[in-house]
């Protein structure tokens, strides 16, 4: 399957801390804005297929010893709504050795409208303007 560029949204319409579920070429993909950086995962938990788009976004709890809690990376972890499995939004990796599966990531980047209009890209419902920036998914 060849990789195509899909314009998901204008950055102005896709603020930090939010997510969007998009369908490209028959695949459901969830795109996250983590503090201005965009990341995408196949919207299918590798465990049983739960919709990651409906999961809770949280941080990473780690520990050096029982009773010691280190909470970092707030907003960078997605928990599947079905069984609570956690995945790194940036890589799709899990944090539990019981879980060997990985959520499938897709590249996302921000591109200026001026570069985009030269194409090729697919944005059937989003008009692209030269003066704006857009979230572009490669899938």
């Amino acid at each position: 399957m060849s990789v195509a560029k899909y314009v998901i949204a204008a950055t102005a319409d896709f603020p930090a801390g939010t997510r969007r579920l998009v369908e490209v070429d028959g695949r459901a993909i969830v795109v996250f804005n983590v503090r201005g950086e965009y990341f995408a995962l196949l919207n299918r938990c590798p465990h049983n297929g739960g919709s990651l788009a409906e999961g809770v976004v949280t941080g990473l709890v780690q520990s050096a010893a029982p009773g010691a809690y280190q909470y970092t990376r707030q907003g960078e972890i997605i928990r599947c709504p079905w069984h609570g499995w956690e995945f790194d939004i940036k890589t799709g990796k899990s944090f539990c050795s019981a879980i060997r599966a990985r959520a499938r990531p897709f590249p996302v980047h921000v591109e200026d409208g001026g570069a985009l209009v030269e194409g090729p890209y697919r944005a059937e419902t989003i008009p692209v303007h030269i003066e704006d920036a857009y979230v572009v998914l490669e899938a």
């Binding site: 010893a65 029982p66 019981a98 879980i99």
Partner: protein, 352 residues
Amino acid sequence: MPIQIDCDIHPAVPNCAALFPYMSEHWREMSVLRGIEDLQSINYPDSVPLTVRSDWRPKSGRPATSAETIAHECLEPFGSSLAICNCLFGVQTLFSEDLAYTYVTAVNDWMRTEFLDRDPRLRASIVISLENIEMAVDEINRCAADRRFVQILVLAGTARPLGRRNFWPIYEAAVKHGLPLGIHAGSELRNPPTALGWPSYYLEDYVADAQAFQYQLTSLFTEGVFNKFPTLKVVMLESGWTWLPALLWRITKYWGGLRMEIPWADRSPAEVVRDQVRFSLQPVDGPADADQMKRLLEHIGSDQLLLFSTDYPHAQFEGSEVFPAGFDESLKGIIRADAPLATYPRLAEGTP
């Protein structure tokens, strides 16, 4: 003769008076005045068939009350080179910290004098009461100087789950002295034996022991005892073990989604058990069919988990064949000698 170590036998205290030589005059008199004549608990009522195999039941009194009886009925018939004595006299049921400490120290001194000193093949577990953790640690330190004490013994039915941090000084002492923590069937009787409250029949009590073991293992895993004490060995005694694969599957399944509750858990429950938990062989609650038993042993996932035991004088099997069908000779050899020696570092030392 090949080495065989019987990791779970039960010398019996005949009655409280048998411990009086190992108590101060004050506590002897207190025992008499208060009418504390016996601490046999309902964990193993004398008259229950399970408590004493019929061919080991004496005409009167309790079985296994002397080193000679143990040698004659257990060590020699089964061909064991060493045996670990786990005394089940119900000292853990006492609430008074001082009375409990008195009886615990008396049981351990009685064990040393009446058994360890009389047969060089015998080893023993240090009996402790969990009513007072400092006193428990004192008793471990006191007894550990004698290298024939090879383990610390608690009952599966504790007042609180054994993973809780208030118990950790005991595990620290265990690691310091190279003593595994033995958890034996039975209860301090602080809680009903089942999660549903008090059952009606002894059958229910005994079956429910497996629940207690399963929960203790879950607690030790979740609370991080195996992370805090990575060299600690825990031995489940008279626990049964055929339930282990199902428990590990269940913990692992839900750990996947609840990892953030216990972020210190860095190994899977199966890895932790393989590294740090062992089980006495008897009782075997398994399939009679040898091929089904082989499949079960495959699910157990390691040939190092089981330690040879007769559970003498409890009635777990008939005759002299301790292994049920399905164990091949090489596995039997590991269970008889290699696994016990790897679990109990003190066993490899000569008699002092």
